[in-house]
């Protein structure tokens, strides 16, 4: 008897009947007619006469509008056209996304001089062309209206202080140069992690400068532990692909820990399955809250954040067979993990997200004991992603306070916002005579500086990055600088007496190092240069520090009450993503919330603190909690610091743990996108003299009020249909490999028989309609749910590629989110106890391009119909906005433009009206002429009142076909790739021509018959998007209920659905 249940919200799992009732309407809102009530049109407040008045006025207005002269349009060519530039044809430049030590080699698509899309660089072996959500969104940062536009200096004191433009950089240099000379004391350069070798040389050549690197979320515990273990102050390369057993102690390595692209690429090696020889890597996660990485784990064990040290120690003891397991709650789990690690010597990997040096020393000891060094951990290629040491920065603050620092130059770092004791830093900064910021925006630290010389965006810059030893990645400008900005390296060069510009310096530096200009140009063109792959280095491990570490961990105080742990979202990160509307609107992988941070609390804490019983509570309780966006607010107190946050109850949390994302609560001057969104929780972190700790004991109290959180997941309902996600365990799949094929066979047998009973074809016989023919290409997509970790890079890529509008928090609250591609998150648990989380399934969901599409036959104007290539087409200019199609779509992937989000309407005031409401400021920001430069000119910008949805990136398909025709050849596999496909660092998405027998899509479908399924197959909509079922690598056997595949309930539901579908057809 299977008790497994997939669910998206507590209402669904606890009180399904009422939940479904509430979910019945596709569009939950009442139509915006005022005063109609139930009295009928004539008696309504807007009676017949008014109706006639409006009719008359609108006819007259339309006549006037229509009779206006057609405006004269100008066609203005180049004055002097660059030779290799063709208007309307995109060019691609290899460059590198660098943000505070995060490095992703990318290729920028530049259309008519404007970068409009970022793709991963396929030549890079360790990212394999993958990207992150933030990388994808970085192109929008270039056109941010709140970038600083010129060098400026602060005049006046106190409240009257304001920034004034300095007309030229020459004047600026003179001003600052004199100020530095007069200031005396030491000159300090405070930066985030610097990965650029040429910049490091510039800093080294700056006479008398003291360079301090400061990371918003620090890895100095790891750096110091590695130093103590004899490897030097470095971080090694981790090869998740070589590991059969992966153990993460609170490291969110698929989301935000070190380079998630690299980690995900390696991790996927062990997660992709060959069904002839089913095996997978085993992933254990120990953590306090449900992280994105934990969601993909095969087995999760929860513990208090403060217990990470003792868990690591227990694990070390269990592996060495010494000592006793002190973390009793998960003793069995620790034993099991230890056995598994011991059984796979040289194929295990333990990573830890703690910033405690002692914990990391123990983790190093574990990795040494299981033989990970030289196998899954490579010391020959240490990475440079994070280099900041917490104690260095603490010393700097002390020196600043003491007045020994005369000048401070700040680039990238923003301690006034993200330091644990920001007030102390601010006070110390005021004692520094000359303060200069090179930051691109007026962030919390820049606001306090006297001089501001904004740097270029990376797409405007020359530069280099050495993400790890032996890998070199170049940056080149893709657009002329939009504003009067200058690379901070140029400022450093000028102020240190070297009068060259950075671009010249950079070129000379590398031409010299590489030996020739040809070699330089080659890297510039490729974007990357890698040394030939070599065997992993083991380094020299020294266990001398272990004893001290053990005693430090054992003597640590036990926390008894609630604890808060700070984490990063894949979208906002440490706070750098907060100014980006695409990232703010990207739903978080676990909570599916946008535009906010909040306290993730466990179900038992909800009951304890808020009296909200979601486990076995009253019938309405869970529905009411889940259905309305108003969530109860709690007050968190750590020491003297208080923050009030709304809660989201998440299953699978450690009972006493509260998790809050950092990066929110930004300053007013960063613009409306960032300001006023969420609360800053960096003050909850603390410094213990060596490193900064990101968890703390906390007092929790009910604040007695509610706040709205804009979540997306509950917007759509599958009306209790259960065959949406398929998930199983490795043991079950081995024992019952044909569960899914049998179900399909059953459908064939039941509905696919021809009238004479001789032939069966589900596709042909299960319908009244004629079949669509695809004489040439038939596009198809496959998504491997085993390789989807929910990071959201595809969602942002879709935004960028298809001009998907941003709607703002108020509109998301009204269920008006516009994402063409969403990642549905399903919790897997026992039917009885939702808190006993077995796993989480992420399912990217977009238009399924059904061959037998239910949306098509309900459209009264044929605005949506089928193409000869199997694509469900949406014609915006034909759509009249009845929304019948969205109602009839079983997958709920159609989106309606409720308001003029894009400014595409002819009438200007459509974004601000009483009936629809005034849209959020971010919508207006996205419609600024500057921001609109990011739009893809090949895709229509949709106006108000039309439906839109995934088009399979039709513009890319057309371009690929045209290119093939131009070259007089058939279309090759891989010519056409969708934006979501190229963004994915795990290659979860495969796309291509199903009619091509050699294409990757045909192969992946043929080779994965056991796991391949279509969502809601029994509806006979014949989707063109197939999925591969998620497999957890556990020994649990889920017994199927019937002989023919699926559980009986599903079977029954299938028949019911079939009837429903047929009724709909009639």
């Amino acid at each position: 008897m299977s008790q497994k249940k997939y669910w998206q919200s507590f209402g669904e799992v606890n009180d399904n009947e009422n939940f479904q009732k509430k979910q019945q309407d596709e569009f939950k809102e009442e139509l915006p007619f005022e005063g109609f009530d139930d009295k009928g049109l004539i008696d309504a407040k807007a009676p017949r006469r008014d109706f006639l008045k409006y009719l008359g006025f609108s006819t007259a207005a339309a006549t006037l509008a229509a009779s206006c002269k057609i405006p004269v349009k100008k066609a203005i060519p180049y004055a002097n056209k660059p030779e290799n530039l063709v208007p309307g044809v995109a060019k691609y430049y290899a460059t590198t996304y660098v943000q505070d030590g995060d490095v992703v080699p990318v290729v920028a698509k530049v259309r008519d001089g404007r970068p409009i899309k970022i793709e991963g660089n396929d030549l890079c072996s360790y990212t394999n062309g993958g990207t992150t959500a933030r990388t994808q969104a970085s192109v929008l940062d270039l056109y941010d209206t709140h970038r600083l536009r010129f060098p400026q200096h602060r005049v006046g004191k106190g409240a009257d202080a304001k920034f004034e433009e300095v007309p030229t950089f020459e004047q600026f240099d003179k001003m600052v140069g004199e100020a530095i000379k007069n200031a005396g004391g030491t000159t300090v350069l405070l930066t985030s992690t610097i990965v650029s070798p040429s910049t490091k040389e510039i800093i080294a050549n700056y006479p008398g400068i003291r360079h301090v690197q400061y990371d918003a979320v620090s890895y100095s515990g790891m750096l110091l532990a590695n130093e103590a273990s004899g490897f030097g102050r470095k971080i090694p390369s981790y090869d998740f692909g070589a590991a059969k057993v992966i153990v993460s102690l609170g490291a969110d390595f698929l989301g935000t820990w070190l380079n998630s692209v690299e980690n995900a690429k390696g991790y996927t090696v062990g997660r992709k399955m060959d069904e002839k020889n089913p095996s997978m890597s085993k992933h254990y996660q120990f953590e306090g809250y449900l992280s994105l990485t934990g969601a993909s784990a095969d087995e999760r064990f929860t513990h208090r954040p403060s217990e990470t040290g003792s868990v690591a120690l227990d694990l070390l003891n269990a592996i060495n067979g010494t000592g006793e397991i002190t973390t009793k709650s998960i003793a069995a789990g620790i034993k099991k993990v230890a056995e598994d690690l011991k059984a796979n010597p040289g194929a295990g990997l333990v990573v830890c997200g703690s910033n405690d040096k002692n914990v990391q020393v123990i983790v190093n000891a574990i990795n040494n004991a299981i033989g990970a060094y030289g196998k899954t951990i490579d010391w020959n290629k240490p990475v440079n992603y994070r280099q900041g040491i917490d104690a260095d920065f603490a010393q700097l603050v002390a020196d600043m306070e003491a007045g020994s620092v005369g000048t401070i130059l700040i680039s990238g770092a923003n301690p006034a916002y993200n330091y644990h004791d920001a007030a102390k830093f601010v006070a110390a900064l005021s004692k520094v005579k000359v303060t200069v910021s090179f930051n691109e925006r007026m962030d919390e630290t820049t606001e306090l500086c006297e001089y501001v010389a904004p740097s270029h965006h990376y797409l405007e810059s020359w530069g280099d990055a050495e993400p790890k030893t032996g890998v070199l990645s170049f940056m080149q400008p893709t657009i002329y600088p939009l504003f009067k900005t200058r690379p901070f390296q140029t400022s450093l060069l000028k102020w240190s007496g070297n009068n060259t510009d950075y671009e010249v310096y950079f070129k000379n530096y590398w031409t010299g190092k590489l030996g020739s200009e040809g070699a330089f140009n080659k890297i510039l063109q490729d974007g990357i240069k890698e040394e030939a792959p070599a065997a992993a280095g083991a380094g020299t491990y020294n266990g001398g520090a272990v004893t001290t570490a053990i005693s430090a961990i054992e003597s640590a105080k036990k926390v008894t009450g609630a604890e808060v742990v700070l984490y990063q979202k894949t979208s906002i990160g440490t706070g750098t993503g907060a100014t980006n509307p695409w990232l703010q609107e990207l739903p978080d992988a676990i909570s599916k919330a946008t535009w906010d941070n909040y306290a993730l609390i466990s179900m038992s804490m909800a009951k304890e603190v808020l009296g909200l019983n979601l486990i076995d509570g009253s019938e309405k309780e869970s529905n009411n909690y889940e259905y309305y966006p108003q969530k109860p607010v709690i007050k968190l107190t750590v020491g003297k610091k208080e923050v009030e946050l709304p809660v989201l109850v998440i299953p699978g949390m450690q009972a006493n743990t509260i998790a809050v994302a950092v990066g929110y609560g930004r300053g007013e001057k960063l613009g409306k996108t960032a300001a006023g969104v969420g609360k800053n929780v960096y003050p909850f972190s603390s410094f213990d003299g060596t490193t900064i700790s990101y968890h703390a004991a906390v007092t929790v109290a009910d604040a007695g009020r509610k706040e709205k959180i804009a979540q997306t997941q509950i917007h759509n309902s599958y009306e209790d249909r259960v065959e949406v996600v398929r998930e199983t365990t490795l043991a079950t799949l081995t024992k019952y490999p044909n569960t899914i094929p049998d179900y399909r066979h059953h459908l064939e047998e039941t509905y696919g028989k021809s009238q004479d009973g001789k032939t069966t074809s589900y596709a042909k016989e299960g319908t009244l309609y004629p079949q669509h023919e695809q004489p040439g290409i038939k596009w198809g997509m496959n998504i491997d749910m085993n390789a989807c970790y929910g990071c959201g890079a595809c969602v942002v890529a879709c935004h960028a590629e298809n001009n998907v509008p941003v709607v703002g928090k108020s509109e998301v609250l009204r269920y008006h989110d516009m994402h063409w591609l969403r990642i549905d998150r399903y919790f897997v648990s026992d039917d009885k106890n939702p808190d006993e989380l077995k796993g989480v399934v992420f399912q990217p969901m977009m238009c399924q391009h059904c061959d037998n599409a239910p949306c098509e036959n309900v459209c009264p104007v044929a605005a949506t119909n089928h193409s000869a290539e199997g694509v469900n087409q949406m014609t915006y200019n034909r759509c009249i906005g009845t929304r019948y199609c969205a109602n009839n779509c079983p997958f709920k992937v159609r989106r309606f433009n409720w308001a003029d989000y894009t400014g595409a309407d002819s009438f200007g005031d459509n974004q601000d009206q009483q009936l629809v409401g005034k849209l959020d400021p971010v919508v207006f920001q996205m419609n600024d002429d500057l921001t609109r430069m990011v739009l893809n000119p090949d895709v229509t910008v949709r106006s108000r009142g039309v439906i839109e949805k995934c088009s399979f990136c039709f513009q890319r398909l057309q371009a690929a076909k045209l290119e093939a025709k131009k070259q007089d050849r058939p279309l090759k596999d891989g010519d056409a790739k969708t934006a979501c496909q190229t963004a994915c660092s795990a290659n979860a998405i495969v796309f291509g021509n199903v009619h091509d027998k050699d294409s990757a899509i045909t192969k992946v479908r043929a080779e994965n018959t056991q796991r391949g399924f279509y969502v809601l197959e029994q509806l006979h909509v014949l989707p063109n998007v197939s999925y591969l079922a998620k497999v957890r690598n556990t020994a649990e056997i889920i017994e199927p209920e019937g002989h023919h595949g699926p559980a009986k309930t599903e079977h029954a539901a299938g028949q019911k659905e079939e009837k429903k579908a047929e009724e709909a057809h009639h």
Binding site: A66, I70, V72, K73, K74, A75, I76, P77, Y78, A79, N80, K81, V86, P87, G88, V89, E773, P775, G776, I777, A863, N865, S867, A868, E869, V871, Q873, M874, T875, Y876, N877, R878, D938, V939, T940, V941, S951, F954, Q955, Q958, K961, L962, A964, K965, K966, D968, R969, P970, L971, N993, H995, D996
Partner: protein
């Protein structure tokens, strides 16, 4: 869409081409070949009679060693190598500032042809016959039919009145008393008929007007410079792609930048030999003055030609866009002219006969769709011809072989689908 083309324009085109062919035919065949070569290879820098980027070529056989065409061939094939031992060409480089581009593919026969053309072109020409163009007779048939209908209608009305008068007279003579006849303007039958006609006609006009909203057929705006396509593409036979080269690669045909214009107009500073130019109102246009406008935009001084280079171009020229599609339509030039082998004239009309360009086609969806219905794609019916892209259309190959289909049109490969143009 040949059928759409007005007869007058076709006659013009026919006349023009006959005219051009007749000029060419008066000389030997090699002059024609030489002219084609000269236009494609030399004309960007050289003029027969005037100095350009390079020297005027008239009388070239009297200079240097060029009487020997073999020497000339060596120079053209590899100028750098030739110049090393030749003082005359070294002098040329000093005079003109740059070395000639090499053309390694030119043969001795080509040189003979080109020199023949140059000698021919250098001869003083007999005055050219005027180019006669016929006025297009738009809607002439409709007009005739309309007049005939009107006349018939008036006759019918008169006859009806005559009939009723005769009847009245006969009634009077027979002594039958009848009520006074209702005048025709109060006659209910007439009124009913008139109102039906009014509504039908009015409705037709309103519908037609509404459909035509935003359409700009016959749009012929005044451009900042009087640029004659007839002179450039017609008389001088400059390939469309020389200026609108991006039509081959891109969705945009794109208007050439000033530096493209200056490739030729660095040398051509006056308008001399062409036919007289008139604007729409019939005023004569001074061609040389129009070229001067270009030079002004380019910051070019004809008296100091060698000092000029493209970086000195001051501002782009703001041409008025004639062919406008709504924003929700995706149109790609390279798809049509390169993959689809469609001639520019199919949509833009006889551009070689237009002085000022006007929009000839309706650019409406019905117009697009009609062409997509009829046009055959460049299908690879067998391995020797057609675009190999279509080799994946197995069904069509089979149907063609079995005779079920006799050709594959754009419609068959999905050319009528909404999302081919709207996405």
């Amino acid at each position: 869409m040949i059928s759409c083309k007005p007869i007058g324009q076709r006659l013009t085109a026919l006349f023009l081409s006959l005219f051009i062919i007749s000029i060419v035919n008066t000389s030997a065949q090699d002059i024609a070949a030489g002219k084609a070569l000269f236009m494609s290879k030399c004309a960007a820098c050289h003029n027969v009679l005037k100095k350009g980027t390079g020297p005027a070529l008239a009388g070239l056989e009297e200079r240097g060693k060029w009487a020997d065409h073999n020497e000339l061939l060596k120079w053209i094939n590899n100028p750098a190598a030739y110049m090393a031992n030749d003082p005359y060409t070294q002098g040329l480089k000093n005079e003109y500032g740059s070395m000639m581009t090499g053309f390694p593919d030119v043969t001795l026969k080509d040189v003979d042809d080109m020199v023949a053309y140059i000698n021919d072109a250098a001869k003083p020409k007999v005055a050219e016959g005027p180019v006669v163009t016929e006025e297009p007779k738009d809607n002439q048939n409709a007009l005739i039919f309309g007049i005939i209908s009107l006349i018939l209608g008036i006759i019918a009305l008169i006859l009806m009145q005559v009939n009723s008068n005769l009847k009245k007279m006969s009634d009077d003579s027979e002594g039958i008393v009848r009520p006074d006849p209702v005048p025709f303007y109060r006659n209910k039958v007439y009124i009913a008929m008139a109102s039906i006609i009014f509504f039908v006609f009015g409705g037709y006009m309103v519908a037609k007007g509404a459909i035509g909203l935003g359409r700009q057929k016959e749009y012929q705006p005044e451009q900042p410079i009087y640029y004659s396509h007839k002179v450039h593409a017609g008389i001088n036979q400059i390939s469309c792609l020389y200026c609108h080269g991006s039509a081959w690669d891109s969705k945009h045909a794109a208007i050439p930048s000033v530096n493209t214009c200056m490739n030729c107009h660095k040398a051509i500073v006056t308008y001399e030999k062409g036919p007289k130019l008139y604007d729409e109102a019939g005023n004569e246009i001074n061609g040389t003055a129009e070229i001067a406008k270009l030079h002004a935009a380019a910051g070019f001084d004809p008296n100091n030609a060698n000092k000029w280079d493209p970086s000195m171009i001051k501002k782009p020229i703001e041409w008025v866009k004639i062919h406008n599609l709504p924003d929700h339509v995706y149109f790609n030039h390279s798809q049509h002219i390169r993959a689809g082998n469609v001639q520019c004239q199919s949509c833009h009309g006889e551009i070689t006969a237009m002085d000022e360009v006007k929009q000839v086609s309706e650019l409406s969806m019905g117009w697009c769709i009609n062409c997509h219905r009829e046009t055959k794609v460049n299908f690879n019916y067998d391995s020797t011809k057609g675009n190999k892209y279509y080799s994946i259309y197995e069904k069509f190959h089979n149907d063609f072989k079995s005779g079920k289909m006799d050709s594959i049109t754009v419609k068959d490969i999905g050319g009528l689908e909404c999302q081919k143009c709207h996405y």
